[in-house]
Symmetry: C2
Subunit: 341 residues, 2 copies
């Protein structure tokens, strides 16, 4: 039975009759080590299948070259795309990315932070779980001096860099389009107001209505968790009103889908009777019938900027985290569900 003993720098040193520190320097291309030694060391390292012990070097250097990402759910197209771009940029800079998911749970989010701090990551990029309304767990990261970047779901109170789209403005895009389609009574199936992005979508919605001189009817604005089920429930409520809406703007594609199902069950023509708009550009919005108009959040850019900002902060000596917002434009993707004929 072969031994499982991993080869270390010391083994290489022994083979060549030099010291471990010479080997270390050779492997790290130290200028003072001769070409011959470097070559020999690399050769032996190769032969012995040497893999540096990251734990040891990270301990010594006080830097792990690991970046942690906290994602609410990985089964969302938006978050996977952000992730993909974060990885692309960070890998290029020599960082490895480890992902943890909160599953929208506050408790899980706290654990995620512990895992990442425990792993001694050099930086963290996170998006808040839906459940999260208290932010003290993020303070742990900040007091440790580890750079923290928030994306999509952030909060001013955390006072760090934030990258996301302009939710307020996005609601304007949606309302402008619906008004353009001759809709006069627009309802909003929104998220909980305690989440900053959903609050902004609601505020933007109200503002846009005012801009178009449409009256603001309280019973047309509903808050929920924006799941498919929630979308169904809210749509039923809207249909039961004495004066139902002629358009529905849902703050998530899943909620929009739920609403669509209910309308179809009631033989309501979408978009001619009621127009529908969702949010996030989940892939299914393009392949349901009718296809759903939605807001695209530019996931690629968000990921790229989050990663680049993090690298900047890591290299910035004595950076004191402050609220720095980086707001990107979103884009309305117009599909069948809102194009009246």
């Amino acid at each position: 039975m072969k031994t499982k003993k991993k080869t270390t720098i010391k083994d290489i040193a022994n083979v060549l009759g030099i010291t471990p520190s010479a080997v270390s320097k050779a492997l790290n291309d130290h200028p003072r080590i001769s070409k011959e030694t470097k070559q020999a060391v690399k050769q032996i390292a190769e032969n012995l299948n040497y893999q540096p012990n990251h734990l040891a070097s990270a301990l010594r250097k006080g830097k792990s070259n690991l970046i942690g990402v906290i994602v609410p759910r990985t089964n969302s197209h938006f978050f996977s795309s952000v992730l993909e771009n974060i990885e692309k940029i960070l890998n290029k800079e020599g960082y490895k990315v480890i992902i943890t998911q909160s599953n929208e749970s506050y408790r899980k989010e706290c654990e995620n932070i512990d895992t990442l701090l425990f792993t001694q990551v050099d930086g963290i990029i996170a998006s808040l779980a839906n459940e999260t309304i208290n932010f003290s767990h993020f303070e742990k990261i900040k007091t440790k001096g580890i750079p923290l970047i928030l994306y999509d779901r952030g909060d001013n109170d955390i006072n760090v860099d934030y990258i996301g789209i302009d939710d307020f403005q996005s609601s304007h895009l949606v309302v402008d389009h619906l008004v353009n389609q001759n809709c006069k009574r627009i309802a909003h199936i929104g998220g909980f107001r305690h989440t900053r992005i959903f609050k902004n979508r609601i505020l933007g919605f109200n503002d846009a209505l005012a801009k178009h001189n449409l009256s603001l009817d309280k019973e047309l604005i509903l808050e929920g968790d924006l799941t498919l089920k929630d979308g169904r429930k809210k749509m039923k409520k809207l249909l039961s009103l004495s004066n139902p809406p002629d358009a529905v703007y849902a703050a998530s594609d899943y909620a929009a889908l739920g609403a669509l199902q209910v309308m179809q069950e009631h033989n309501i023509n979408v978009p001619n009777d009621i127009a529908l708009v969702g949010f996030s550009n989940e892939p299914f919005t393009s392949f349901v019938k009718p296809s759903i108009t939605t807001v695209n959040q530019n996931a690629g850019e968000i990921g790229r900027i989050a990663a680049e900002t993090l690298i900047k902060r890591i290299n910035q000596e004595n950076w004191k985290p402050t609220l720095t917002k980086n707001i990107l434009n979103s884009e309305l993707i117009i599909r069948e569900s809102s194009k009246k004929v």
Copy 2:
């Protein structure tokens, strides 16, 4: 400006006037340390916001308590569910889980392995990328003596524990059901044969046809990458046949959806003209019209067993990896797309 210096075991020792090793033992509930000391140490640790340096303890103990998971794509409901269960079990056992995704790319998969080995994980749970047909990168894990478990997408040649469903048998479930619905000419939109699971679905399909005395028509079996686009392409091909099928069994839900779109564009009644079955029970299969019959893979069980097997292997001294398959039953979820009226 406050200093960023992290508190160590030494700081606690200094405060209390005892040695670092006493502190270490107190924190680890060593039986020889007095109750008073333990309490005092924990109190000070709390006050100083002490977080153990995982790097140091992992280095010393030769165990990181970290488990790496490689997932082909996180934006699939099946993989997210597996992941969720892996995390649940492993967290309970005191392990932290870090996720890396291969995005179905062979190159990325190699990098993922490097990242995980670099992080000194105690074990790896992986599912192969679609692209992967050569497995030498997994040997690195094995020669290091790190336990490796494969799930869903595995290969006999890697010779480790494998957990997945019985793909051969699943095809029988599908065909039995379709035959039961009076289908006589069943087509299969399959995955590439080099991937074990897709090969087995094809073999099972053939075997089931034979069982029902249905002739095996080569032009009704197609191989592809099973994306929505691929499903569309393959369906068009099937419709162009002189004798088109009366049922389509797609080895992925996305391909099934593509096929459904094409059929609807051709005004074909699903299921009465052509019945349709997918694979994986992606959420959208339940909410498209008609809803799609599909095979549920029991993601929860797969995750649970993968995690439990890994823990077993980690604790097994001198375990020599061998091919050990754990095959679970799948379940056919019958929906509108295959229920003839």
